[in-house]
Symmetry: C3
Subunit: 373 residues, 3 copies
């Protein structure tokens, strides 16, 4: 049993017990229930330690996209080239923003690949991808755009608004809701950042020029390894939209809580109709990059497909460093889990399943704050 | 060996032997071959005992749809909202009737769920589904609309004709062809009905608010269990179009025989072109509700995908109480099997595979009636 | 260890060793690297022995299609019926040439099937398929059009150009580039042809009237067995476009080398943009005929999905007699392997995986001809 710090609301003690049982290194776990932070736990680091969010960053980027859709600035049925004309080349002219967000564009990388420095810079990535021929017929199938999804959607945001998705997230979410998610880490917060640690075992990397090899940049001599991405200063400082966010678990769960719930009396970022739209499955089945069964909504994982307790309409995004973060609007839950050491395999850590089960098992025994006994 | 009653045509004795070997409770088995009833067997009940047809009812409902398409009253390429304007909400405006029948609408249930009484009433179900946001992007994937398919297609029928699908089935099929399938059981036939019996084992039910949970109404406190549906008087009396039919095996095989063959000199209900259309695969692959490989035609199972002996172009529908029923136009076969006790798992009973193999193995040794020796 | 004849360029000796280790009967292996023939091996027959190419023939046919697309004679986005009006019946009116080439038409055979003599004649096959109702909704899914793909695409070529695909291949490729692939074997080359030998074991054939049964013509009393196809004189002489080519491994690898590389100073048949288009995945996932995971580009296998060493953008076509042939433009490799005896199972022989690994492992240690040390 690991020693655990922090608090849980009455009734959520089994979540603390489970966290103590499964944590095998520095980690944080936070959950909100109807806007109330009911689980706030950490071990092996501080409550406000900041870790790389890896692909959980995509969830942050796409909360901004959702907000812009809600405000009528973006339209999911529009073609991407409406916002970003250069993208409409090489057979990509008819792809819609909805399809782009559902990992259907087919430009999961480029023939040449990216150096670590290039990959950190969304503008460079977007410019190269615009010229790239898709690896599959756009729209007809889907595959995880692991390292470039945020550069693509971020460029749409930038073209439509004149501002980066990072700037908009900071202004509309981090600052507005005091969320501990940093999309472009300010120098003054670097002291809270803990460097990522590699997994004790490494999976066989995909072959360089295979589809997964291209998507994970294995074909470029200076392509980074995934686990080390948050340790690259440019990634943290720029807040690369696909994987460059830096957050505590409070930040991961908090951004989703801000999005769907009233936290401390604030108006939720998103309206019920927007939220319902985010949970709709857009791509499900064989992911041609990951070569396994996957399910995506418009910009998010259909997280309910991975954890049976979650209600239909849940959405979120995991990270290769072990992170899991999501909103379950039906049950009023948001969840954030992060850890310092990349697990094996490098994906949402296996302990999330046990933690989520413990959290959902606790729900029937407790009442929402303000409810009558 | 179970004691078996009934008759088989010369050459089909192995089917009787197989039925005696595999039947493990009250059951009926009937097969037609080029319009002749060549297998007519029962055990543990009477030849005219009536049992709940469960989802084999969908086959009855969609024979009516096929008839209306044949007559030009319905057009599979039309949008559903052409017939039913209220359906065209929440992103469902472009869904065609063909896609609806291929389980592609995405409204497999509603966020609130249905009480057993509500679920029995197709009108209530249809009205609620029209307002529901689809759980996936309509048309892009498919999943079994287990408890609501008939309410959806039935509402299209009602809007287009002013009559219910149950009424049309009774007038055009039950009465016209003297088929022992009752789509809304008359009070005077209740005495022939045998209540359904639960399986000896129950599968773990799907999580309440997961996609299968919603499709099987596990999220409503008064949602019925599937096995008990035929035991609900309202279901039998209304003949809920997704699961409320009541039939003997003679009725199950007989309705398909009436559809594709000349039985006792009658003109078949459907023309060869209509029949060929019904066998065309519309949805195949990962069923997002059942989470397994499935294949549907427009309103039917592509039954040939499940039993290798069947010819391409076969269509039918199984039932969760163990039923299997289909037409195989290429081989001139129709088949109906039903039993009183729900099997484990609750689906087409495993004995169907052996019975179908025995039936098809018998074919090469016999000649169609009227053929020259 | 089998005794092996032939030559390899310096650095490719491990490929010869592997060939000696895995060959279990008469076979040929050839590879080109940046237009240079670096592997040229054979055993148990002569270097210029000719064997049936089986479905590797489809690769030859579709190199012609690619050339015609490059020249603007064909347009992949056009409907098939634009070129071939009779094809636009039975719900096939909207199918595009691209979809046809991606095995999406649904006419994998006909209800009646073909005698061996009929199947050898692309014109007869095309005429029958034009009238056939597709077995699935055209465009919505894909399945291997095993015995008829070339008849379909060949008819498009014939309608658009007035010449057969066989004639065009001979004029534009066999003769132009001196490629030892014969699409319609001249009588004077018959002496080089070695008859095909059956496998030592036979797989259970698909049920006659199932989808694979129809696609492999098991429902016709005079339907041929796949292994014997090259032994039918009509197949060799007509060069049936789906399976009737006759070639040495030099021919298989050579036609792809002519297509993508400069061999002996010649201008490559295809331009880089055409080549890139041929490698784009068009259909991937559950093949409804083969009932397993498959990946097709427009007319070719997405060969890189089957061998991890290959670069994304590879394309080729295997044959049921054990053949494998492909181009890997990214690595500058083309490959041809053929054998006399059909392996078990009847598909690309398992030794290809080891041969390809040996070939690709050799690449890092050698330099392209003309490169500086």
């Amino acid at each position: 049993m690991t020693e655990v710090q922090g608090t849980v609301r009455d009734g959520f003690e089994p979540v603390r017990d489970e966290f103590a049982a499964v944590a095998d290194g520095p980690a944080q776990l936070v959950a909100y229930w109807h806007g109330e932070r009911v689980v706030d736990l950490w071990t092996g680091l501080d409550a406000d330690s900041l870790l790389g969010a890896y692909s959980a960053t995509k969830g942050a980027a796409h909360l901004v996209v959702a907000l812009l859709v809600q405000e009528g600035v973006l339209d999911l049925e529009q073609r991407v080239r409406h916002y970003w004309p250069e993208f409409g080349s090489e057979g990509k002219h008819d792809l819609t923003l909805r399809e782009l967000l559902a990992h259907r564009s087919g430009v999961v990388g480029t023939d040449e690949g990216f150096s670590a420095a290039e990959l950190a810079d969304d503008r460079i990535v977007a410019e190269r991808l615009a010229r790239q021929r898709p690896y599959w017929r756009p729209g007809t199938q889907f595959g995880y755009h692991a390292l470039v999804m945020g550069a693509l959607s971020g460029e749409v945001v930038r073209r439509a608004t004149g501002q980066t998705v990072q700037r908009l997230f900071t202004e509309r979410i981090t600052d507005q809701y005091t969320v501990d998610f940093h999309f472009g880490l300010p120098a003054e917060l670097e002291s809270r950042f803990l460097t990522a640690q590699p997994a004790t075992r490494q999976a066989e990397p995909p072959t360089a020029n295979s589809l997964p090899g291209i998507a994970f940049d294995r074909h470029h001599p200076d392509g980074p390894e995934v686990w080390e991405l948050p340790n690259l200063a440019a990634v943290r400082q720029l807040g690369t939209a696909s994987f460059g966010g830096v957050a505590s678990a409070r930040g991961l769960a908090g951004m989703y809580a801000a999005a769907i719930s009233s936290v401390d009396g604030a108006t939720p970022l998103l309206k019920p109709e927007t939220i319902a739209g985010l949970g709709q499955i857009q791509s499900i089945g064989h992911d041609v990059v990951l070569r396994e069964h996957k399910a995506f909504t418009a910009g998010f994982h259909a997280t309910g497909e991975y954890y049976p307790e979650l209600g239909q309409g849940s959405f979120g995004h995991s990270g290769a460093g072990g992170q899991q973060a999501f909103a379950d609007p039906r049950n009023g839950i948001t969840y954030g889990y992060t850890r310092r050491q990349t697990p094996f395999p490098a994906a949402a850590a296996s302990e999330n399943a046990a933690l989520i089960s413990a959290l959902y098992s606790a729900l029937p025994g407790v009442r929402p704050a303000g409810s009558r006994a």
